[in-house]
């Protein structure tokens, strides 16, 4: 089962390697990982999407907590949260498909951020499932390049 884990860590050199090394060293899987400083610049937040059964997830959470640089670990699975990911998609846009691409952009409230005579670069934001849907629709037109940020999450409410 897929889990989204948010990890607050000391914003120090080598912390990313410690976390990544923990996953690779113990055979845990990282599906995506995003890192950036929080409001407090001495703290970074990592959002990790991983998968595994309950036993594996319990070990992942415990092992993350065991790292000296880890301040807090939250598994959002089963909680109410907002999840967003961004994708940049460079899609072929020849004469016969340019209009269709723009329709898809419109429907999914995406944005065109770069235009050439033969392609559009689109910015799409939303839940990973929405991104998958857009990418599936664009695929027949010819996706030249795809960059996804990996999701970030935040609990709902106060």
């Amino acid at each position: 089962m897929k889990h989204t884990i948010s990890v607050l860590v000391e914003n120090e050199f080598g912390v990313l390697t410690r976390v990544a090394g923990l996953f690779s060293g113990r055979g845990f899987n990282i599906e995506s990982l995003s890192v950036a400083p929080t409001l407090d610049p001495s703290v970074s937040r990592m959002t990790i999407v991983t998968c595994g059964d309950d036993g594996i997830l319990e070990q992942i959470t415990k092992q993350l907590n065991k790292l000296i640089d880890t301040i807090k670990v939250t598994d959002f699975t089963g909680q109410d949260y907002v999840e967003r990911e961004m994708a940049l998609v460079k899609v072929t846009a020849e004469e016969d498909t340019r209009a269709e691409v723009l329709r898809i952009v419109d429907i999914f409230r995406a944005k065109v951020v770069d235009v050439t005579p033969r392609s559009y670069t689109l910015e799409i934001t939303g839940a990973p499932t929405k991104l998958n849907a857009v990418i599936d629709l664009l695929r027949p037109m010819g996706i030249k390049e795809l960059v996804r940020s990996g999701p970030v999450v935040m609990g709902r409410g106060l």
Binding site: G14, G25, Q59, D69
Partner: protein, 565 residues
């Protein structure tokens, strides 16, 4: 007052109460060594950096204090890796300081540069690269704190040469503040109550003790808890000295080369109380058949140890001293019911006694050839009660676990988790430095001994009277045993065919050597060695193809023991 980086390091060591360090100089630690002479810190110069770390480990295991080792950058640092991994696997508190090339050269593949922080990341509890002299005192304070608190472990500080030379105002922080590191010491009382209830309901309980009980110095609390309930106690290799092996409740070691009765007791138990143990594969054998009928209570300081390998019915995270004390208190509150409980466990005690009578730890004795087990028995009998025993890794290590009657905590030093050959001699060195007046004995095989035999020089130089027992079978015996039992007796690369004259080797270093090959000489030579001042090698030419028995074949359940070959 302003101090240089290397002076700050030494000041900090003093404030941490360090009086002894083990190490080996080199280009990037030359400043530290230059300043060392100004400080009341004893430095033991080993002949290899790996040995310096093992010696610091031996010092830590016997004293309970943090062991300190120093090595230079590059090869000096990589030589510490095996020592650090050994300490990490057995949860031993160490601070290892490595020199590093000057900061502007880091990443340039400079002479004697390695990324030792990267290399040791997965074998240290934590590690540091000092990047700013202003952080130095805080880093050292944190390193010692991390090493000795919670589940102990090694911490490495990589210290670039240019920062050793820079100066700053020195101020040692009073306390450590780390928002990400707060070990749980106090066991949850509600969990303890539940544990007490499980114990009161049990009819076939077993206490299973690991090295954590040694690290926590919890042997008194363990003994009290065990005696008030009369529950039998089995220990892992690292837990052996925590519980007196001659105690009537002792089942000896469990697992691959454990006693038949310990393994049977665990397999038939209805409640397994794990105390500072981590359900290693050498203990559990086939996981699916391990303690199949038992509820499991797991008491440990490290939450990651719990439910890592086996299902656990009742976890208690905390310091073992604290939890065992609370558990005894909880049982004390049920003291009216305790006699009934002890009575109800009568048939269980009898069942265990029958296994003990039926399948005791025995070996085939001989008048013509020295049996290795006999040597261990005689050592156990002849050495003083507070003697410190170290071992290397292999058959001799298992025979020591099986036939030496350990009775005091922190007297048995062996590489359990990593299984490091070459550990025993330098560990004995460290133990003898810590306790110059006590008997320190390294029990070794001819294979393992040659992995760090250069430390004879260190022993002689510092007048450390370690007694070294070599059970010489001219084989890498444990691997040979596996080849005999599971690989059609094809002894591929396990005979050590070149006969070594260990007596001459001892003499070459200025030590004393004895060599015997007849059983009737064993006691005599042990006594002679104990009376001889300084380091002594006792070589026993033993039965070459003796096997360690009983044995659980790899992957089998622990009740499926092979009793004799």
């Amino acid at each position: 007052m302003k101090k240089t980086g290397s002076q700050i390091l030494l000041e900090c060591l003093l404030r941490e109460g360090v009086d002894t360090v083990f190490g080996y100089p080199g280009g990037t630690v030359i400043n530290i060594y230059h300043d060392l002479a100004d400080y009341p810190i004893r430095h033991i110069l080993t002949r290899h950096e790996q040995a310096a770390v093992h010696a610091a480990d031996g010092y830590a295991r016997t004293t309970g204090r943090v062991g300190v080792a120093i090595a230079t950058s590059g090869p000096g640092a990589t030589n510490t890796v095996t020592g650090i991994a050994t300490a990490y696997m057995d949860s031993i508190p160490l601070v290892v300081i490595t020199g590093q090339v000057p900061t502007p050269l880091i990443g340039n593949d400079a002479f004697q540069e390695v990324d030792i922080v990267g290399i040791t990341r997965s074998i240290t509890k934590h590690n540091y690269l000092v990047q700013d002299i202003k952080d130095l005192a805080r880093i050292i304070k944190q390193a010692f704190y991390i090493a000795r608190t919670g589940r102990p472990g090694p911490v490495l500080i990589d210290f670039p040469k240019d920062i050793q030379i820079q100066s700053t105002w020195f101020e040692y922080p009073d306390k450590v503040e780390m928002r990400g590191y707060k070990p749980t010491y106090s066991g949850n009382l509600r969990q303890v109550e539940k544990a007490a209830n499980l114990i009161m309901a049990a009819r076939k309980p077993v206490i299973y003790v690991g090295g954590g009980a040694s690290g926590a110095d919890a042997s008194e609390e363990l003994l009290a808890f065990a005696e008030m309930t009369r529950i039998p106690v089995t220990t892992t290799l690292l837990g052996m000295a925590v519980f007196p092996q001659r105690h009537t409740q002792s089942l000896g070691m469990l697992g691959m080369h454990g006693t038949y009765y310990a393994n049977m007791a665990v397999t038939h138990s209805d409640l397994l109380i794990a105390v500072g143990a981590r359900f290693d594969d050498r203990v559990t054998g086939k996981i699916a058949s391990f303690a199949p009928h038992a509820k499991i209570i797991h008491i440990d300081i490290d939450p990651t140890s719990i439910k890592k390998n086996v299902r656990v019915d009742l976890p208690i995270v905390g310091d073992l001293k604290d939890v065992l004390k609370k558990l005894a208190d909880a049982l004390d509150r049920r003291s009216d019911e305790l006699p009934a409980l002890i009575h109800a466990m009568g048939p269980w005690r009898e069942e265990i006694a029958a296994w003990k009578r039926g399948y005791p730890m025995v070996y085939q004795s001989s008048d013509s050839v020295i049996k290795p087990q006999y040597v261990i028995e005689q050592l156990s009998e002849l050495c003083s009660e507070d003697a410190i025993i170290t071992t290397e890794v292999g058959q001799h290590q298992m025979w020591t676990a099986q036939f030496f009657a350990f009775s005091r905590p922190r007297t048995f030093l062996t590489s359990g988790g990593l299984g490091t050959m070459g550990y025993g001699l330098p560990a004995a060195l460290g133990a003898q430095v810590a306790f110059p007046e006590r008997q320190v004995i390294d029990i070794s095989g001819d294979g393992s001994f040659q992995m760090n035999s250069q430390e004879l020089a260190t022993l002689v130089q510092y007048g450390l009277p370690v007694k070294i027992v070599i059970l010489n079978n001219q084989y890498l015996g444990m691997v040979r045993q596996w080849q005999e039992l599971f690989f059609d007796r094809r002894y591929s690369q396990t005979p050590l065919e070149l006969p070594i004259d260990f007596v001459k080797l001892a003499e070459a270093y200025g030590a004393t050597g004895f060599s015997v090959s007849r059983p009737d000489q064993v006691r005599e030579v042990i006594c002679k060695a104990f009376e001889t001042p300084g380091p002594v090698i006792m070589e026993f030419k033993v039965d070459r193809e003796e096997n360690v028995m009983p044995m659980v074949p790899a992957g089998a359940a622990i009740n499926e023991m092979v009793l004799a070959s």
